[in-house]
Symmetry: C3
Subunit: 269 residues, 3 copies
C-alpha cells in the first residue's frame, strides 16, 4: 500500500489490493478483494463493495505502453456495490450509487445524487447530469449526453453509430425530466426533449419533441404527456416533478417551492 | 469463522469469508473467494461457486444502522454458480440452480427445482413457483408473482411502474404453464393466464387470456395455442406439458399419469 | 501449482489459483484472484484479468462424477478482461479479446481477431468466424453459426428453440459481412445472408436475403443495402468492407487489394 494516503477510520477488508497515488478519505470502507488501481481518490464516507475494480486498466496498459495517469474521483457518501468496475479518467459527484457489477468506462463525468443500476454498461466519453437514475442493464453508448433528472429504465440502449460499422459517432441527447421506459432503443443522434415519455419497447428513430409520449417500432407520437392519468386516482401524472419526490432535492417541500428557492439563491450570489 | 455450524464433509476453498450464525449442512462445498455473510443457512449437498456473495448487505448496512438479521436459506442439492449474489430475507427450495452472476434481491421466495440463469436480475419482493425456469438475463421487477412450471426466456422484463417514475407498484402475474419468449416486455399489472405463449419481442400491454398466443408491438392475439405445430413433424406442441418432460416431475411417465398420482396422494392425506 | 508448465516472463498476481495440466506460455500475465482450472493452455503474450475463471466447471463436476478433461486453448496476444468466465472444450484463435464478465460456455470454437463484449453470453455449441465482433450483452444461443467479419451489436439475441420449451434446436446462421444492429432478435433456424443489415429492434422471423436491409416487428424488407448513404457525406456505406478498415486485415490497404493478395497466396500454396 505504498503511496496510499488514508484518512481517519478507514476500513480495508481481506485481500484488498491498493495501487499507487490513492487517496482514501475519512470513513471510507473498502470491502474484501476489491482492487483499487493507481490514481484513485475516494471521498469521505464512501463504501466500495467486494470484488470492485476502481481505476481499471485501459488500452495503454494492455498494449504494454507506458501508462499515463488516469485519475478517478468518487464523491462523498457514495455506495459502489459489489462487482462494479470503473475506469480512470472519470469523475462522480457526491451521493453516487451503483448496483452490482456496473461497468463504467473512461471519460465519464457524472453529477451528484446519481444512481447507475446493476449490470449497467456505460461505454465512456459521456456526460450524465445530477439526480439522474439509470436502472439495471442500461447501455449508454459513447458520446451520449444525459441531463439532470432523467430516468432510464432497464434494458434501454442509447446507440451512436448511424451506419454500423463506421467511424462516425453521433451520441443521443436526453434532456432534463425525460423518461425512457424499459427496453426502448434510441437511435444515433436523436434528441429527446424535456418532459417526454418514451414508452416501453419503443424504437426511437426521430427526435422526440417537448411534452410528447412516443411508442412503437418505429416509435410514433401517441399523445401529449399531460393526457396520461394515474389509473387508480385519475389524476395527472406528468410532468413527474409535480407528482414524485422520493430522493429529489424537493423531497421536503415541492418542486415549485424548491425551484423558486434555487432561483433566489442564484440571483443573490 | 465464529458462529459457523458445519456438518460433515464440508469443503471450503481458498480465501472464503464466513460471517456469524451461518449453517453449512453435510456435503456443502463453498468454492474459493465466496463470501457468506451473517444468518445464511445452506442445506446439504449444495455447491456455492467462486466469488458468490450470499446474504449480501442491504440498505440498513450502508446507512450504518444497526443491522437487523436478514436470514437466507438455500435448499438441498443446489448449484449456485460463480459470481451469483443473493440478498437476505430470501428462501429457496431444494434443487435450486443459478447461472453465473445472477442477482437476487431481498424478499424473494422461490419453490423447488427452479433455475435462474446467468446475469438474471431478480429485484426482490416477488414469488416464484416450483419447476419454473428463468433463462439468462431475465429481469423480474418487484411485486411479480410467477407460478409453477413457467418458462421465461432471455431478456424478458417484467415491469411494475405504470407511470414511471411513481410510487405505485403493480406486479405482473404469470400463471402456471405460461411461456414468455425472448425479449418480450410485460407491462405493469398484466396477468398472463395458463397455457399461453408470448412470442419473442412482444410488448404486452393487455392481459393474455388462457390458451392464446400473442405477438408484436403492441402485442396482439395471433391464434389459439393449439394451432401451433412442430415444423418438422406437424404434431401439436402445446400445452407443452404433454410434449416436454426434461427436468419435470413427470419425466419418468407423462403429465397425465403424474397428475393423477398427485391427486390420489393429496386425497389420501 | 502442480502440473503448471510456465514459459519465460510469466506474471502471476495475488491469490491466483491454478489447476493441473495448465500451460502458460511466454509473457502470459494472470492478474489477481483469477482461477485457472485444469487443462487450460494460454498462449504467449496473453493477459487474463482479475476474477476471471478459465476452464470453469461443467455439469459433470457438479454432479460429482469423475471429471473428464475439458481442454481450453486461448490464442496468442489475447486480452481476457476482468470477470470473464470461459468453460472448457473451447478454442480461441490469436488476438482474441473479451470485455468484462463475458460468459462463454462449452464447445465454442472461435477464429482469430475476434472480440466478445462486456456481459456477452455465449451459450456454447457454436462456431464464430474470424474478425467477427460481438458487442456488449449479446446472447448467442446454442447451435449458432456465425461467419467471418460479422458485426453483432448490444442486446442482440440469436435464439434456437422454435417451440419453447422443446428438445429441438435450430441454430441461427449469420453469413460473412452481415450486420445485426442493437436489440434485434433472430428467430430459430433463420439464415441471414451476406451484406445485410438487420436494423435496431428488428424481430427477424424470415430468412434475410443477400444485400437487404430489414426492420420492424416482425421484420420486413426495407430496401437494398446499397441505398443506405452516410447522412453527412451522402456517400454509399455498404458493403461496409469498402468503407471501413479499423482492425480489419485490409487496414493498411483496402478490401479489394487485400482480397486479391489472399487469392494469390491461396493459389500459390
Amino acid at each position: 500500500m505504498m503511496g496510499c494516503k488514508k484518512g481517519k477510520n478507514v476500513k480495508i477488508g481481506t485481500g484488498v489490493i491498493i495501487g499507487e497515488n490513492v487517496v482514501l478519505e475519512d470513513n471510507v470502507c473498502i470491502d474484501s478483494y476489491a482492487i483499487i488501481r493507481n490514481n484513485v481518490t475516494i471521498k469521505k464516507g464512501t463504501y466500495v463493495g467486494v470484488n470492485c475494480i476502481l481505476g481499471e486498466y485501459q488500452m495503454d496498459y494492455y498494449q504494454g505502453k507506458k501508462m499515463e495517469a488516469h485519475p478517478l474521483v468518487i464523491g462523498e457518501n457514495s455506495i459502489i456495490r459489489s462487482g462494479t468496475i470503473i475506469y480512470g479518467d472519470c469523475e462522480f459527484g457526491d451521493h453516487f450509487e451503483t448496483g452490482h457489477r456496473a461497468t463504467i468506462r473512461e471519460n465519464t463525468k457524472v453529477g451528484s445524487h446519481v444512481s447507475i443500476g446493476t449490470l449497467a454498461d456505460i461505454q465512456g466519453y459521456c456526460i450524465i447530469g445530477s439526480y439522474t437514475r439509470l436502472h439495471s442493464n442500461v447501455h449508454i453508448g459513447q458520446k451520449s449526453e444525459i441531463g439532470d433528472f432523467v430516468w432510464i429504465f432497464p434494458y434501454v440502449v442509447l446507440t451512436n453509430d448511424p451506419t454500423p460499422p463506421s467511424n462516425e459517432m453521433k451520441g443521443v441527447k436526453l434532456k432534463p425530466f425525460s423518461v425512457i421506459a424499459t427496453g426502448s432503443i434510441i437511435l444515433p443522434g436523436i434528441v429527446v426533449e424535456e418532459d417526454t415519455l418514451v414508452a416501453a419497447g419503443a424504437i426511437v428513430t426521430k427526435n422526440v419533441g417537448k411534452n410528447t409520449v412516443v411508442a412503437g417500432n418505429p416509435a410514433k407520437v401517441i399523445c401529449d404527456i399531460s393526457k396520461i392519468k394515474n389509473s387508480a386516482t385519475g389524476e395527472k401524472v406528468y410532468p413527474w416533478r409535480d407528482t414524485f419526490k422520493r430522493g429529489m432535492p424537493w423531497e421536503e417541500s415541492d418542486y415549485e417551492t424548491w425551484y423558486k428557492e434555487m432561483e433566489k439563491q442564484i440571483l443573490s450570489e
